[in-house]
Assembly symmetry: D2
Homo-oligomer: 352 residues x 4
């Protein structure tokens, strides 16, 4: 930690800061400049402390040197974390695609999509049973019955299930049905929910908040890791900027940054990231080229009848096209992308 003293701060003020830092177990060193003095403070607990040095008289600002997270850092664990969803690997050399409708709307809709995305090569089915909607008048999800349909789709297709949980009181219920718990962007800093989801023992898919910095996002992952659950998948889904042509601004730079700073896998959601089906394929391709470990994509048998996020949902046909377009790009960046199970590759339908 670096403490920058104000120009004109007195020697007493400087010594007072030094004293407090040393009382807390830091070693300190003063660098005297022509205009301002600075204090370097080092010590084991430097990333854990929450001192209000900046509020002391004579202090201009405090600059942290160490990242505020530990368990998520690449320094703590140099090798990539690979998530095991039953016998499926996410992270490392594998590229995985999660696909399905924004919301579970009916058993028929869900099962239809499940078979379609499976045939196109997806291994994980997405679908919201609890939907966080800006307006209280929008469809809020089928709730528990939606979870049951997801379970049924898993039985029928063998796809794994990822679905969102929004409330600590529902974590047990959602965990009962889901293979991966999704924490949505709006809940990225819902800390009680992060802790509860961690304790479920299930892998957690942590979406980046709409205006979360990369550091805050990693700190939210740290909440989960700190509870002893190391199965965290980060998901870039677009941030909020001044640009309105796209629904959000997909920050693909976050992909290599996350892989540099942490050992956690990172996937990309080009559906929410762009808000329009038309941009989903090029941005999915770009995500893979940037090094993403996976994608989560909205697919609907009939987007214009979707109860949620229709405009950004792919038709099954376009989803199939997208999956095929990813193959050579995955290869170019050294990722293994298994499209088996699709009629194109095995010559018969995998539908049970």
């Amino acid at each position: 930690m670096i403490v920058v003293m104000q120009k004109g701060a007195t020697e007493e003020q400087l010594q007072e800061v030094v004293q407090i830092l040393e009382d807390k177990g830091f070693r300190t060193q003063i660098t005297r400049g022509t205009e301002k003095n600075i204090i370097g403070a080092v010590g084991d607990k430097s990333r854990l402390l929450d001192l209000a040095i900046e509020a002391m008289t004579g202090v201009e600002k405090v600059i942290p040197i160490l990242a505020p997270y530990k368990l998520a850092s690449r320094e703590y664990k140099p090798e990539d974390t690979v998530i095991n969803i039953d016998n499926l690997s996410l992270g490392g050399h594998d590229l995985q695609v999660m696909a399905g409708p924004c919301a579970v709307e009916s058993k028929e809709q869900l099962l239809e999509v499940a078979h379609l995305v499976k045939n196109a090569g997806a291994k994980i089915l997405r679908g919201g049973a609890y939907k966080p909607r800006s307006s209280p008048y929008s469809f809020q999800g089928l709730e528990e019955i939606g979870l049951k349909y997801l379970a049924r789709a898993r039985e029928e297709t063998g796809l794994y299930i990822v679905t969102e949980v929004m409330d600590t009181q529902k974590v047990d219920l959602v965990s009962y049905y889901a293979d991966v718990l999704q924490i949505g962007a709006r809940n990225m800093q819902n800390f009680p929910l992060l802790r509860a989801a961690a304790k479920s023992g299930k892998p957690v898919l942590l979406k980046r908040g709409l205006s979360a910095t990369i550091e805050e996002w990693i700190l939210s992952a740290e909440y989960i890791l700190k509870e002893g659950n190391s199965q965290v998948i980060l998901c870039e889904r677009g941030i909020r900027t001044f640009e309105t042509y796209t629904r959000n601004t997909l920050d693909l730079s976050a992909v290599p940054v996350i892989k540099y700073l942490t050992h956690l896998p990172v996937i990309v959601d080009p559906s929410h990231g762009t808000g329009k089906w038309r941009w989903v394929q090029p941005m999915a391709q770009a995500a893979v080229a940037a090094g993403a470990d996976g994608l989560i994509i909205e697919v609907h048998p009939n987007p214009s009848e979707a109860l949620s996020d229709g405009p950004q949902s792919l038709t099954p046909e376009n989803f199939n096209k997208l999956m095929n377009s990813l193959k050579p790009i995955a290869q170019a960046v050294g990722k293994k992308f298994d499209l088996s199970g699709t009629p194109e590759y095995f010559g018969y339908s995998q539908v049970i």
Copy 2:
């Protein structure tokens, strides 16, 4: 609702949209342009529906005409909502100040601040017992014991209590102690929490999310109003922008905008809005001049020892100075600002 068809959309595509809209009970009218056709759709349920028209073939975009909220709108209720916290009025002609430490740290700290802010003229005590912190290693609050200290401070000083609730499972507990439930910026779109807080029957202080548009913020208020709780206070606390000199960018324009669009009272938090005690007074003054119904301000007896947000906390002396500076501005904009109880005005301490 206006549906803009793409250039080159066929007549069939246009008629299909018209059909769906009429099936849903809308009246429609087509305006044929030289390049694009548009469909105007009117009907009672126009603000409540969630159609995926934008996903239909041939449709370029859908432009809503009516605001997506109803109960919060000035059109629904033209007169100002005045919140009654016991016999204290917030909204309308009164200016109220909430003040206190960011976090409840100890009984002594809280009681000291409580007496000080009361003497300076505040009528409501703020203080967090549950603290949403970006890092899991930061102080997370005293939890239930913090609530007990707040109750004790109320007994001793007569100040009303506003404190944050972060989890649906704690709403009953926090409601038992608090006069006003605070929903923090990070939870503005934690919809289960909004509903649970609404059902407590207590007034709810709803902070604006870091990257929430004014419309989304009002929609979150609508969630509370829809549960039958009309006691909602909105709080502007700064939004996230590219500017880093201040912690957030205090969007004071939101004050007159909220008062124009809704009937709800709006207060301002210049402590979080700026992140530095030095800017709190000028921005508090500006907030009152812009028409705010109140302020929420962090005060700490010794900011440099604060366990949370020390740099933005005022010393009691500076808080006193601020309160006095607001008096003539409140008067200039026609607000009643009662500083009674302060030694300056009554010549004796109001401490019980």
Copy 3:
């Protein structure tokens, strides 16, 4: 300057950085942490150098300690700069209002507005002869003839003239007619223009760029000061954020921040800052309460016929109302606000 070395950087890499810094005349001091080492570097030229230390192997990041500007800083010149526009003072204890149409549209329009704003108490007339418009199909200004009308309005009313210059090739011409040269938001980092405007010797009104940080804005002022022109007025006019309800987000915190960091006067443009006449008065009041040295406000005799920015222009009646509303607020914050010249104050018209 602080250089933070990467975890695992070698001693050689550290010594190489030290060597380069010392070669450039810095004194250095190494603080060795448990994970990372840091180098403090101090020296007279620290704010002027442009070293690419961050590109050296083993370096994680470079953190500047001193502000990158000098002539603009409060440290360099502790007392407020007061701009003298002929015998009018802007800055210090005076509050000045500049008002007029967005664009000069005709002689009649301009003279009508000039008399009206003068009668309401403004001392400076604004009006664009060269208009920077996003679209090439929008009205681009009357150019030189517009300047002549401004000169005529000055003759008739005694108001001083502020008008925008957009091109280095027009600086001489615009300077010939204007009392204050305006650099628009889009040109805040048009460095050749900054230099040319500085050399005109006229006071320069420097608007903040749409996405300029406060530091970048001050650096642009530094360009002007460095050419020997100390007459710089900064103007906050709203920044670009995700919020679309207002045209821009008026960052009023910039007012006290600028006054703290620099000695330059700062004024506020609530017309562009909000984009809608309805919010101009409350935000003008807030600007004064935050400590602004002046305001620049769009007034049009008939806003719905304005060729530019009609929606944000005040009618003369609303402008008059606004001016009167500012009086008590200016008084509350210790500013002298001279409304003389208005019929209300002197009982007769000042119109020549």
Copy 4:
């Protein structure tokens, strides 16, 4: 154009709007809603007019239907524009890479880089002779002598030259030396410069402004096209957001969006877009996968000695690595990427 009337607007107010629109040559149609009435207005000049309808009494807002640009639109010219830089094609099926130092620093530096990037497969040399720098104390470029070095590099290597012009007074000079004129991000809305650059007849590389919307960016291209110069290359170089880990946020979604809305080629600058050499390769890969027509990349023989933007410059070795990594991705998206001239491909050095 759609005009939305306020709730409670009178019939007279509505008719007044209709009258004005019809006077201007629009056909109008009124759609009467239960709460608000709307007026649809169609006519040939709808995209060219600049009416202040929004300032009329009773009007809530005006919603444009047609894009405000014409010549740049895909509707105006359906087929891709291919830029011919002498006998080199940019746009269409070709992928082109521009590379070189941020600033021309010396003849030796420039020639060294020129040969290196040529050998790696680049066809166009970048290098700034006039540098727009935030601080007046930073290196501002070698100016005309820098242009001469660029010309010399062209002679020696056969590379084409792209370099920035910052002032209308330098357009002739820079055009004399450059093959492509670059308009920098800070000058994207320097309209006199856009016009002057257009008139040079040279292809213009138009960088996106730091906070420019896609629509504003296209409108700036429209300024150039309107002067009769159809050779415009758009360049995404990152936008300003709240995220500070990267220097800017590279908005790769802009690539498919630009290609959908316009017929112009679009390239990507991952060096400025990320600000750190480490992220340049993954984001260059992502740009190509998203469909970009080219890249512009900073390369420096010794980044730590660069006078500008060293941290984001690639070493020649890393640049070579990047170029090879692009080959399979270009192929995957159907782009022709010619790396000929490199020793790896032809077995001998092309260095003259």
